[in-house]
Subunit: 341 residues, 2 copies
DNA sequence: TATAAACCTGTGAACGTTCACGGTAAAAAC
DNA sequence: GTTTTTACCGTGAACGTTCACAGGTTTATA
């Protein structure tokens, strides 16, 4: 694995290494004839500039750190796909760090990322509201590291947040059920303490207020986003409120679990109970019945995050900023179309 | 963002930079007292060794390239999670490259990876049997780059393949249906040309031969792994063979799509038609009815891949090698328990 | 024609680390 | 008491690139 260096190219081309450097960096100060000659030699020798050496001197690595929590979740994989696409367009790479939602491992990840040549960090960890300690992140911000988080985090340092408007999403979902005539609308929330879960619940309350429907805490059960938790939460809810007519579930996974519980309990969907999910997973339209849901622009979110990160590397310390994208209502069979009796 | 270097540590500690280097690399030739003193200074100054400079001189980067095709697919995300976990244990990072299954972009990805400091490449692209051109991969192998592919590829150079035994998986799935007494067993295959699709079909034929059931090509419909393709393929199949009693679908996604088609066509599952999926996605047990399937050890596969890659960086050119993991049958409601009438 | 300005090119140093080697002092061997 | 070994530590060079600056042509301006 012999490496060909800039000096090899220079000697073959009969110019100085600096000229070669200028050519490969598209510096204007080089004669057109020289440039083409050098480029020819570059091709002949199959020369590739060494990114390590380049980073060492420029301190502008073309690499971002990507710290993700629930990497296996569809939402985050889609965000990453979008981010990677945008990064690629601008010749950036992502270095992968998967914490698997173990907060205690996070400082270690940040430390390791800091040793790597990263120009910024994309932080795609979900956001429990009361995360024990963010000191390691604040330290990094203090040192001027550009940071974009998808989903809100309670940080004081200068960073950028991108997210989908969860209040609006909860509002759209609940309003759709309200407009179908439902008055006893249950809700299965996401993991308690998460910003997304809280915001979607705010949207739910807002929709109820609009329709002057009283808010009944008994209609709400917490889940943890998983299929299984939706199943269990629905069971608890039905035991307490057997005459429920509609159910807003804060994730499609939980909604599918909940629908399994409803079927088992003998309810038919949407005739007895209308169900509304959240996320628009690919499986949603093949669930039984096809699941009405709130679509989130996940890849766009990632793309936006990456593009803001790239901006941040160019004009550092641009201050705190938040960008929200808008969700969209997708109507399918599970929410019915007519008011209940 | 002031950087503290090895020389800063050295001058603060009153030793030479070389001594500091020895300390942070755990070299034995340093007095215990000196070592502790230096480590104290390291902590005080919050010194982190610069990986870029280190790589430049050692040429042993702690980074792997990860080139993935269908990044959004559950299978591959799980593989990546496993691989990342193993990499982390050994202080390796992955650099992400997502080709989104566009073969024409691949050479570009390989080129870019080659410029980055990568010690090896994990290639998690799915494997159409007749991929147009693998020259860019062969070139890399010739230059001695360690390569591990998950899923088979038709490469001549020295590399390592890890995969799950798809023939065995197809055998287990089909045999389960045979043992329940079925004789007219349909199959929806994955994307034509993929090794996995072909191998699972081989397992299907093997199971039929065991039971001396004739192989009827009309019972087979191709899909492309997606929900939608399972839906469509099942519709085509039912139109041709209305008295089908069992169906082996080569992915859970397609199986869920197919079950939607069966329901729409008025069949009940498993009474009229038994269904067997493949993958054991989390959604499988919350499908309606709960989906029998073949579980693949995805994270283990990734872990294995990473560990073999790490080995390969230590003893290069270990030749071609293939490691297969074994799948497992998961029985749920969709395949029924009694023979059909 | 002399001079200034543009254009192009080359040299030394630096980025932060490790490697190869050499050196000094203390401890062990004769 | 001299020599040899051992243990520890430091200096110069290198990795492959870019940056700052200085030099040399050629072209444009006075």
């Amino acid at each position: 694995m012999k490496k060909v260096t800039i000096r090899d190219v220079a000697s073959h081309a009969g110019v100085s290494y600096q000229t070669v450097s200028r050519v490969i960096n598209n510096h204007p100060d080089v004669a057109e004839q020289t440039r083409e000659h050098v480029l020819q030699i570059v091709r002949d020798l199959d020369y590739h500039p060494n990114a390590t050496a380049r980073n060492l001197v420029t301190r502008k690595p073309n690499t971002f750190g990507l710290i993700a929590g629930d990497f296996g979740e569809y939402f985050f994989t889609q965000v990453i796909i979008g981010a990677e696409r945008e990064a690629r367009k601008n010749d950036f790479f992502f270095m992968l760090g998967i914490t698997e939602s173990k907060p205690q491992d996070e400082p270690e990840y940040f430390r390791m990322m800091a040793e790597q040549p990263v120009a910024g960090i994309l932080f795609a960890r979900p956001s429990p509201k009361l995360w024990p300690d963010n000191q390691h992140i604040e330290d990094l911000l203090d040192r001027g590291m550009p940071l974009v988080t998808v989903a809100y985090h309670n940080l004081t340092g200068s960073h950028i947040v991108v997210d989908v408007d969860n209040i609006q999403g909860g509002l759209l979902a609940t309003r759709c059920l309200v407009e179908a005539g439902h008055r006893r609308i249950g809700m299965i929330t996401g993991m308690p303490g998460w910003q997304a879960a809280g915001d979607r619940a705010l949207g739910y309350r807002k929709a109820l207020e609009e329709a002057q429907i009283p808010h009944v805490p008994d209609l709400i059960e917490p889940g943890d986003w998983s299929y299984r938790s939706g199943d269990l939460a629905a069971q608890r809810l039905l035991r307490r409120i057997p005459d429920l007519t509609a159910l807003f579930v804060q994730s499609d996974q939980m909604a599918i679990g909940a629908m399994a519980a409803l079927r088992t309990a003998g309810y038919s969907i949407p005739e007895d109970i209308a169900v509304m999910g959240y996320d628009d997973l690919p499986v949603a339209q093949y669930a039984y019945p096809a699941l009405s849901t709130i679509r989130q622009p996940m890849q766009e979110l990632g793309q936006l995050a990456a593009s803001l990160l790239i901006d941040a590397t160019k004009n550092p310390a641009s201050g705190k900023k938040t960008v929200l994208l808008q969700p969209e209502l997708i109507r399918r069979d599970s929410c019915g179309t007519r008011p209940p009796p």
